[in-house]
Subunit: 449 residues, 2 copies
Amino acid sequence: MKTGWCWRKDESVNNFKTTVGLLGCGHVGAGVARMLLVDRNFIREKMGWPLELLKIAVRNPAASRPFDFPVDLFTTDPYEIVGNKDIQVVAELIGGIELTRELVLAALRSGQHVVTANKALLAHHGREIFAVAAKNKVEVMFEAAVAGGIPIIRVMKEGLSANRIRHLFGILNGTSNYILTRMSREGLDFKTALEEAQQIGYAESDPTLDVEGQDAAHKLILLTALAYGTLPDLNNIHIEGITALTPEDIEFARELGYVVKLLAISARDETDGRLEVRLHPAMLPKTHLLAEVCGSTNAVLVSGHAVGDILLNGAGAGMMPTASSVLGDLMEVARTSRQGSAPRVPSLGWFTLNDEIPRSMSETRTTYYLRFTVADRPGVLAAIASLFAEYGISLAQVIQKSAVDSHSVPLVILTHLAQERDLKAALKVVDKLPAVTAPTRLIRVETRL
Amino acid sequence: MKTGWCWRKDESVNNFKTTVGLLGCGHVGAGVARMLLVDRNFIREKMGWPLELLKIAVRNPAASRPFDFPVDLFTTDPYEIVGNKDIQVVAELIGGIELTRELVLAALRSGQHVVTANKALLAHHGREIFAVAAKNKVEVMFEAAVAGGIPIIRVMKEGLSANRIRHLFGILNGTSNYILTRMSREGLDFKTALEEAQQIGYAESDPTLDVEGQDAAHKLILLTALAYGTLPDLNNIHIEGITALTPEDIEFARELGYVVKLLAISARDETDGRLEVRLHPAMLPKTHLLAEVCGSTNAVLVSGHAVGDILLNGAGAGMMPTASSVLGDLMEVARTSRQGSAPRVPSLGWFTLNDEIPRSMSETRTTYYLRFTVADRPGVLAAIASLFAEYGISLAQVIQKSAVDSHSVPLVILTHLAQERDLKAALKVVDKLPAVTAPTRLIRVETRL
């Protein structure tokens, strides 16, 4: 019976193996090395041939690591892996941009496939790296670079490949989502929540890349490439982190039926067909599944013209979830390369990428939550409303709150769809009104959910 | 710039095409045909070469269909597609088991790849079909057969391929989930909710396959194959639908903090390593994301040793979501077969399948919700509790409700982990006690969520 199951029983695979070298053995690298060693037999059983870890390049072989590895696996020279004809696949888990760019390009040029978890590298140098890979007919795989263990790259590249993507929303930074969850549930301010996240290891000592939105923006660039066939320049997208959010605004959002998330948005405007790519805090209806993605979890919602809405949810970071994605890529490369040398699907899923540039933020239309701090006297709302009307912005909802102190009171407004340029222009004038006593707070509201 | 993006600019693809024939043009078939025609240029742009629909085999070319198709596409002879050397891929969308088995086997034997949405066919004849495909070095793809538009097959086969699956839970039948959602939210009884589902087209006039669990069980068989490398016989798994559920039990579940779902379970028991595959109503904690999967939506939660929990959520049926999955498979077959003839990954993701047989239901250990209907007099609970103790079943929670009529009262018990055989034996005795006035209701409680 068992032989009847054999996939290719006429083909001997006894001597075949796929060889792997790792660059880096930090957090994720150690997880990948561990899986390659501990789960070796399981992987061999699944694929039919071994995935063999030959070398790990590290700065310091003697450094303390979460697991013990055979010392003879280590080398301090990455070029014992890169360009080594005995190693078919290079897993780049060093991080950073400039050194890794050189190593990755050299590996690709020497005919090695590359698997990487490095979103910053691909967001900055993706154009060059994917082009060199295509020219050399090798794979660049990066499932681990976006949303950790969630296999969103594969889903976009193949599962939903026949879909025209209407929009894609992502919660792509676990640190920010953890902080926002704590601010939302416990009323903490940003600074306190960040300190807490740092204490339990959910935020790094320099949290800038996470809380300022750069990390999520890198991932958004890659998802945009898969969705729309264009790899936008980081300078062409709006990136705004969570550092300016206050517990007051999160509480007002809750009262209005919303939750605030750091949202990555890639969408095609239904009315004019323009591409929108932006990363900023956004209010989502609190009954939506995305709003319930809490803690350090990541999620991506993809809406396609045929499939409708698909939501994926899971661990967005962490050693083993990220290693799971790296291993999935290693096994895919192993299986593909066994059949011949050329990649089956282009790295970003499109035969030819285009050079479409996303619409600038000032041209973007959305709806807004605005919190004005105004003097508690008659006529202020009327003044603001009429000024907004001059700029073509209409109000959907107004909430006048009771005074916070003797002379200022919060005034919360939800607008109808407005263009960012108009809104910002109106705010500039409003904020100069004598009755407005503090800069107005703004959070965009996502109405497509 | 644009040429720099080209995936394989040195390779002319001008004359290459992948040819497709459809068997069937019903609900899903019409959706697939429409996408192949309407989205033709989009697909060509993405892949680099066309996916060309050559023929559609139907019983009656003149039948009314949701879209107009060129009449010359139709044939009444499926063997103008099956075995036709000009057609590389056959999409089987007829449904049914016996005729389609013959057609699919003939297609595979003639070297054609097959894409199918037919879970019943694969659950019944998968062993034979996958073996014939492997022997002939062609693909059998079935993303559309499980959870409609959700790309769970691809995720299991490749994205999470390095994971040992701890357990997998699925809400895999949209009709049942719609009915349960209505019962849960509106307090409807099963019959009324079913009639409502039939009126709005969410349930068929003969709903047996859906509400008795067969349809979800077919899908569960396929997910089990991907998760554990074994394709269990339908007769070896416990299948229980939702027809016996009452609004009372759903309401008690709610009070206890649970939601009742028709749950597909494939799991490896952590304590003894045995495989469990079963499909029955189950109580889930109402705060879990799976519990919030409402209406006709499907969802799958996969827990892997490295990745942790990954949840996928989306449309589990419907013309276009299912067509989206068929098209994803057609594009994947087109891309793979362009590189050579042999499939890259075995159909079920494992180089060799095993013959592991899931543990029988009577050997399974889980926790139970039990609702006894008992005479409203002292000592009844004590009698039941001591009888349960004899069978080694301990009680976790007891709720004595007020009387429903003059002489009977519901008594709700949650047990600790117990073996199904013991529980059923105990219930057999309990139900014969004079104080027990109606058969006891049982719903299993899923504690791994």
